[in-house]
């Protein structure tokens, strides 16, 4: 699984990957809703669709779009089951998703710990 490239390259000169930790941030999970989804899934074996919908305050269709995008990247799995004649959708993070999330978390911590550089450096 290759990480989607970061498109937020400032200035005219192309920065090297080692220039700043922000260039290592995974764009696919940078979006707050997707980050919250992966954060919830990272701490659980599986999570109910309804819980995420209520927690994130989204409509079913909106959440489904984010989930489909994450599933297409191979970061999550979506299982629709019938429990007592009631449809229930369970979401789980995949090893690739967990690795991407942990890498993202490490980069965030690196950014927080790294002293801020003045613009133009």
């Amino acid at each position: 699984m290759t990480r989607p490239p970061h498109t937020d390259a400032p200035g005219t000169s192309a920065p090297t990957p080692a220039a700043h930790p922000r260039f290592q941030l995974n764009e696919a999970i940078h979006q707050p809703v997707r980050l919250s989804i992966l954060s919830s899934l990272a701490h659980a074996e599986k999570v109910d669709f309804g819980f995420l919908r209520d927690y994130l305050g989204l409509k079913d269709s909106n959440l489904s779009q984010h989930l489909t995008a994450l599933e297409a990247l191979g970061y999550i799995t979506i299982d629709k089951l019938f429990e007592k004649k009631r449809a229930r959708t369970w979401l789980a993070i995949t090893p690739a998703g967990r690795a991407a999330f942990e890498e993202y978390l490490a980069v965030l911590r690196q950014i927080v710990e790294q002293p801020e550089q003045p613009p133009g450096d």
């Binding site: 922000r22 954060s39 659980a44 599986k46 999570v47 927080v112 710990e113």
Partner: protein, 160 residues
């Protein structure tokens, strides 16, 4: 414009809030441990109450019915939770507590009966309090942990 590090800290907050929300809706929210502790306390108090009748039969009947109901409740409660955790701390606490329970009842009831021969008033309630306290305290600790957000490192007010 927000600085990059501040944005990163806010994202760490988003992650932490999501983790807490997950724990609050999981079997590790502390509720099961608190209920389990109170059930044990009531079980033991029932033995003290049954001494009035001169026979422990009433307490045994009560404990069988009450504990069966609580086991059913625990199964139902865990099933309706929207989060299934990979590692459930609650189960581990109950497993470790069961050894303590065996030792407490073995020494406090069996050992005491052999050595002393009679039980002082409210003896079983006292055992119940001693036995329930680790479960209730663990439950309260988990319950609090699921509600207190940890400040990410580097953020103003963070504990370094």
């Amino acid at each position: 414009m927000q600085s990059l590090s501040r944005q990163a800290v806010e994202q760490l907050h988003v992650i932490e809030r999501a983790r807490l929300a997950t724990v609050r809706s999981s079997a590790d929210n502390g509720v099961i441990l608190m209920v389990w502790g109170l059930v044990f306390l009531l079980d033991m108090a029932a033995f003290d109450l049954s001494r009035v009748t001169g026979s422990p039969l009433a307490a045994v009947v009560f404990i069988c019915a009450f504990n069966s109901a609580v086991v059913v409740w625990r199964w139902w409660y865990a099933r309706r939770l929207p989060i299934r955790l990979r590692r459930v701390v609650t189960n581990r606490v109950i497993f470790l507590w069961s050894w303590f329970y065996v030792a407490l009842v073995g020494l406090g009831v069996g050992g005491w009966a052999i050595v002393i021969g009679h039980f002082p008033p409210l003896w079983f309630t006292l055992l119940g309090l001693i036995g329930a306290s680790p479960l209730v305290l663990s439950g309260v600790r988990l319950w609090r942990q699921a509600r207190i957000e940890t400040t990410p490192a580097g953020y103003p007010g963070a504990r370094e």
